[in-house]
Amino acid sequence: MSESKPLDFTAFRERIGDLRGKEYWRSLEELSRSEAFDEFFQSEFPQQALALSRGVDRRSFMKLMGASVALAGLTGCRPPQETIVPYVNQPENLIPGRPVYFATAMPLSGYARGVLVESHMYRPTKIEGNPEHPASLGATDAFTQASILGLYDPDRSQVVRKMGEISTWSEFVAALQPVLAEARSNPAGVRLLTQTITSPSLGAQIQQLLAQYPGIRWHQWEPVGGHALREGNRLAFGSYLNTIYDFTRASVVVSLGSDFLDEGPGHLRYARDFSSRRRVRQGMDGGMNRLYVIESTVSSTGSVADNRLPVRPSEIEAVGRAILAALDGTAAPAAAHGEFIASLARDLQANRGASIVVPGEEQPPVVHLIAHAINQALGNIGTTVQVIDSPEVAPVNQLQSLRELVTDMNAGVVSSLIILGGNPVYDAPADFDFRGALGKVAFRAHLGLYNDETSLLCHWHIPETHYLEAWGDARAYDGTATIMQPLIAPLYNGRSAHEILGALLGGLDTSSHGAVRGYWFGRGATEASWRRWLHDGVVSGSAPAPRAAAVSTAVPAPVEGNGVGIEIEIRPDPTLYDGRFANNAWLQELPKPQTKITWDNVLLMGPRTAEQIGFGAEERSKLFNELKTRVAEVEYQGVRVQLPVWVVPGHAEGAVTVYLGSGRAFGGKVASGAGTNIYPLRRSSAMQGGGGARITLTSRSPYPIGCTQEHQSIDPKVVGERGIVREASYETYLRDPAFAQTPPHGEVVAGLEHRNESLYPPFVYEGHAWAMVIDTTVCTGCNGCVVACQSENNIAVVGKDEVVREREMHWLRIDRYYKGDPENPQVFHQPVPCMQCELAPCEPVCPVEATSHNEEGLNDMTYNRCVGTRYCSNNCPYKVRRFNFFGYSDYETPALKAMRNPDVTVRTRGVMEKCTYCVQRINHARIEAEKEGRRVRDGEVVTACQQACPTQAIVFGDMNDPQSAVAQLKKEPVNYALLGELNTRPRTTYLATIRNPNPELVKAATADAEHH
C-alpha cells in the first residue's frame, strides 16, 4: 500500500503549468501522476488482480471442481423440457410476443413524470418517457428508469403485519373501526400523515374525510420535496404559488444554487428546453445561450455552466443580493466576486425579458425572493418565468406541519396516527425525535412499499402498491394531471392510499380505480375523454393558466452570523434521492454524476479544505487495486458522523457537502448497510445545513470506495495527446468552426501519418450503416442513459466489492474530465458506449469468433460462442467491454425473471458483453420494415440511451441515408472520433463541447493568471 501524502498544490500547479496547450484530467490522483497511479494504470487487467475476495485452498477447490464436473455431466446432456401455458380466454388486443405500451406517470415527491411503460404479455419490463407529457417530452431520468426494478423488488413488503405478525387486510379494516369511533368523540386525537400530494382524487378523499370527521388533522411531510421552495415562493408572491420556466426563450440563465437540469419535478423538461438553445450547428439561427451557476457543491447544472462561481452555501444569498443591487444600480457590487457579478449583471441587463434567474430548490426562502425580484426587475416574469397556482392539493409548510404533529404526539394528544407512505422515523429532522414521539401514540398504522424503520415501530403495516400496480392520478410541475393506470395486478398484495382512505370513509371495498374514476367523472369526464386521457397519459386542459403575480420588493435585511467555520451542505443524493431508492440496486450501483462513486455516500470537499484538515490523497492498495480513502468525523450541532473523505475539484472551499439517503438501518437487503446515515445531522433549524461544522480526520483504517472514474478508462497519457476531449468557446467556434479537426497541439502523432490506409480493399456497406453521434455540449452527465441501458439490456448488478475491483457491468459509462484549476475546473462529460468500430481491434483477436462484424457495420457480440478469453477486452482501445467474472445475473429470484427484457439474452458467468447499439431494436425495426417492403425509416430505431436522454444528446441512425439526422450531424465541423488516428473508424463519434463563457470574465481570468 502506498503511503498517503498530503495534497501537493505546488505539484498540481506545476503540472498544470507544464501542460502543453489543453490538458484534461479525470481525478486529482491522475493529475498528481503518482507512481502508484501509473503502476495501476499500466497493469494489463487491473480488474483481474484477484479473482476471489477470499482465497480458496486446494481442498475446497478440488471439491468445487469435482462437483461442477459431475453436475455438468448430469445436466449437460439434453436440453430441458419446457411447457407452454396459453390463456384460457386470450385478451382481445393481445398479440403474444409483441409488447404493448401504456401511458401512466411516475410520482416523485408528489409530482408526476409522464411515462410509457413497455408491457410484454402484461408484464411491465421497461419505462420510457411519454412524448406527450409536458414534464417528460419523451425523456426519463435515472429514478424513473430504475422504478421498474422497484416494482419487482423481492424485498418489498408483502403482507399486512400486525405487531410484526402476519395479518390480513380485513383485520386491519376491523381495527380501524375503533379509530373511527374515536374520530367522532375525540377527532383531534386522530391524525393523518402523508407525503406531498398532487393527486386530485386522493386530495378529494382526504377533504371528504376531514369533512366527515371535523377535527381530524392532516399533516404532510416530505424530507426533500422543496420546503424552501414552497416558503420562498410564499415569501416572494405572498401565497403558495409555483414558478415555471421557459428556457427556450432565455438567452442568459443564472442559477443561484439550483440544479434545475437534474433536480426537481420539471428538470427533464427544463433540460430539453435549455439544450434547445445550446445545440451549436452550422447555419443555426440565434446564438448560444449562456449559463451562470453560483453554487457550492458541483451539480450537474454547475458542471455544464459557462461561468461557474463556487461560493460557500451561505454566500449564495449575498451574491444574489449583489446581483439585484447591481441591476438597480443602487449599490456598487461588493468586493467579493465583484467582477463576476458586474459582468453577469451587464449580461442580464442586455437580455431583459430573455433571461432567467433560477433559485435552487434547497436554497433558503430569501434566495427565492431575491431571484424572483431580479426576474421581476428584468421583466422576465410573465415571459420566461410563469407563475401558476401550486399543483399541490394543500401546500403547507411541511416542517411546521410535522413539528405540530410531533409536539402533539409528545403531549399525548395524538391517539391514532395513520402514515400513508413515507418513512418519517428515518427521515424526520433529528431534533424532532420522531421515533420517541411515535412511541406515545396508541394506534400507529403505516402504509409503505417496504418494511422499513417506520413500519418497525408501528402496530400495523400495510404493503403499499407500487405506482405501476394501482390506479391513481398526479399533477406535473406545471399542473398537468395524468391518470395513472396500473400495468400489473399488485405483486405483493399491496393496497393504495386510496383504498385506506376508502376504508376510513366507510367503504369497505373502495378500489383505487373507483376512487380515481369517480373523481374525474364527477368533474365532467366522459367515457370518451377518459379513454383519451388514459391513452395520451395527460388530462387535456388540466394545466392551470399562468397568473399575474407581483414579487414582493421588501427583501429582508441579511441575517448576520451565518456561515462561520466550515459550512456543511445537506443535499438529496443524486441517485438515492431521500433514501426511498436505497433498496434499488441499479441506483446504488449507478455512479453519482459528479464523483462516480457507487454504493456509498462520502464527505465532499474542495482540495484546499481537504488540505486544511490534513487529508492526503486517496490510496490504492496494490493487491486489489482498491481505492481507499481516509475517514473523517463531522461534528455539526453536537452530532457526530463519520464519513469517508472525497475531494471534488470545483467544490467551494470552506464548505463540505453530504448526501442524504444512505445508511438505512432497515428496509431491504440492498439498502441495509450501504453508506452512512446523514439524517442525524439534519435539524429543523438547519434543514440544508449551515456553518460551524468541525471536520477532523480519524485514525480509522482507510475505507475502500467503489469509484468508477478510473475504471476501464482510456490511458491518461493518451487523453491529452490524442484529443479525447475537444472543446472550445463559442467565440472560438465562430472564428474557427473546424477547431475540433485540428490535431491536438497542432502536430500529427508520430507514426500515424498513414492513418487511414489499409491493406484490404474497403468494405462497402450497401444497406444500412448504423451510427451514433453524441453531442457533448448538451450532455449533463445525468445518468438517465446509463440506467435505461441497464434496464433495456438486462445488465447485472455486481455489488460494491466487485465495483471496487473494477468489474461493474454498465455498457455505457460517462467519463468525466476536468480542465484547469482544481479549485474551479471546467467539467466535461463524455458518454462512452461501444464505438462499433468498422475496423474493430476486438474482432481479429477472438479465437472463437464470438465477436464479429455484420454487414450493417455492427460489431456483434455472440454470447453463446464466447469462451471468456477476454482478449477482445484487452485489445479494445476504448475499454467498453464488460466481463462476467462471476454469475452476476440472478437466475433464481422469480420476480426478477419477470422484469427482464425478453428480447435480450441474460448473460452468464464467463461471458464477455458490451453495447450492441440495441441490436434487438434494430432487428425489430428491420423485420417490421421488411414485412412492409420498405427501408427502415430514419428515427425508427431509437436506442435505449437515446430515448432516455433529456437533452437529446444522443442521435442514432443510418449514416448511409444522407437525409438522416445522424448523417447530417456527422457533417458538422465539430464532429470528431475518439482515437480516430488508430484507424478503428468508430461508428460512434462526438460533437466537440462548446461553451459560451462571458468574454469579459475569460479576459479577466486570463489577466489574473498572467498576473500570478
Partner: protein
C-alpha cells in the same frame, strides 16, 4: 541392465501414436454425431400432451388453416398457442362428451390453462421471428414438416444452427410463393427456376451475421 520394455513395446508404441490420431478423430466424430442425433435435438421425438391433440385430424382431415389457432404467426415473433376458448369454439358444439376432451372442458370451466409440453424449443440466446419468415415465403412445412400427417406433434427437423444456416445461406432452395406458405401439401415445381425469382421478388437477404439471431 536388463531392458525394461520388451521389443514388442515398440510396435505397441507405434500403433498407439498413429492410433491416437484416429482415436481422437473417432471421438470427435462420435461427439459430432451425438449432438446432431435426435437424442440431443429431440428430432422426431413424440411429446406426450395433456390432451391427445391430433394435427393429422384437424389439419389433414378437417382442413383447418394453421392460422385459425396460431393466430399471431403473421404479426409476431411467436406464432401463438391457442387459448382454451379456441378449442371450445367447436367443441362446445361437437364431441361435447368425448372423454379425450375432458381436460379442455375442465380448463374452460375452471379458468385454469392447459399446460402443453413444448415441442419446438430454441435456446434463450436465439431469437427467432415467425412473422418475417412467413412474410418472406418460408412455408410452415419447411420447418415443422408435414404437420397434417402427425398424430401427436413432434419436431420434424433438428433445429440446429447448422440447419438454420442451410436456408439462410441458400434461401432459393426452400422459398415458396407467399400464397403457398400455409399449404401443407405444396410440392415445388421447378424450384431451381422459381426459387431465385422469388428471392429477388421478396427481396430476401442472406442474413448470416451473428446478430441476426443472437443478441
Amino acid at each position: 541392465m536388463a531392458q525394461i520394455f520388451h521389443r514388442s513395446a515398440n510396435t505397441l508404441a507405434r500403433v498407439t501414436i498413429f492410433g491416437a490420431v484416429f482415436i481422437a478423430g473417432f471421438v470427435l466424430w462420435v461427439i459430432g454425431g451425438i449432438v446432431r442425433s435426435p437424442y440431443f435435438t429431440n428430432q422426431n421425438v413424440h411429446r406426450e400432451q395433456p390432451v391427445q391433440f391430433s394435427h393429422r385430424h384437424h389439419v389433414g382431415g378437417l382442413g383447418i388453416d394453421c392460422r385459425y389457432c396460431h393466430t399471431s404467426v403473421e404479426e409476431s415473433s411467436f406464432a401463438g398457442i391457442p387459448p382454451t376458448s379456441t378449442c371450445m369454439n367447436c367443441h362446445a358444439q361437437i364431441w361435447t362428451n368425448a372423454e379425450i376432451l375432458e381436460p379442455v372442458r375442465a380448463s374452460f370451466a375452471t379458468g385454469r390453462p392447459i399446460v402443453w409440453n413444448r415441442v419446438h424449443r430454441l435456446p434463450d440466446f436465439v431469437h427467432f421471428n415467425h412473422s418475417i419468415h412467413v412474410a418472406k415465403g418460408i412455408g410452415c412445412a419447411s420447418c415443422h414438416g408435414r404437420v397434417d400427417r402427425m398424430n401427436l406433434m413432434y419436431q420434424a427437423e433438428p433445429l440446429t444452427m447448422e440447419w438454420c444456416l442451410r436456408c439462410h445461406r441458400e434461401p432459393e432452395k426452400y422459398i415458396r410463393p407467399r400464397e403457398e406458405v400455409f399449404n401443407m401439401e405444396y410440392v415445388p415445381v421447378n424450384q431451381k427456376e422459381v426459387g431465385p425469382k422469388l428471392v429477388q421478388q421478396y427481396a430476401v437477404r442472406k442474413l448470416t451475421s451473428c446478430s441476426t439471431c443472437h443478441y
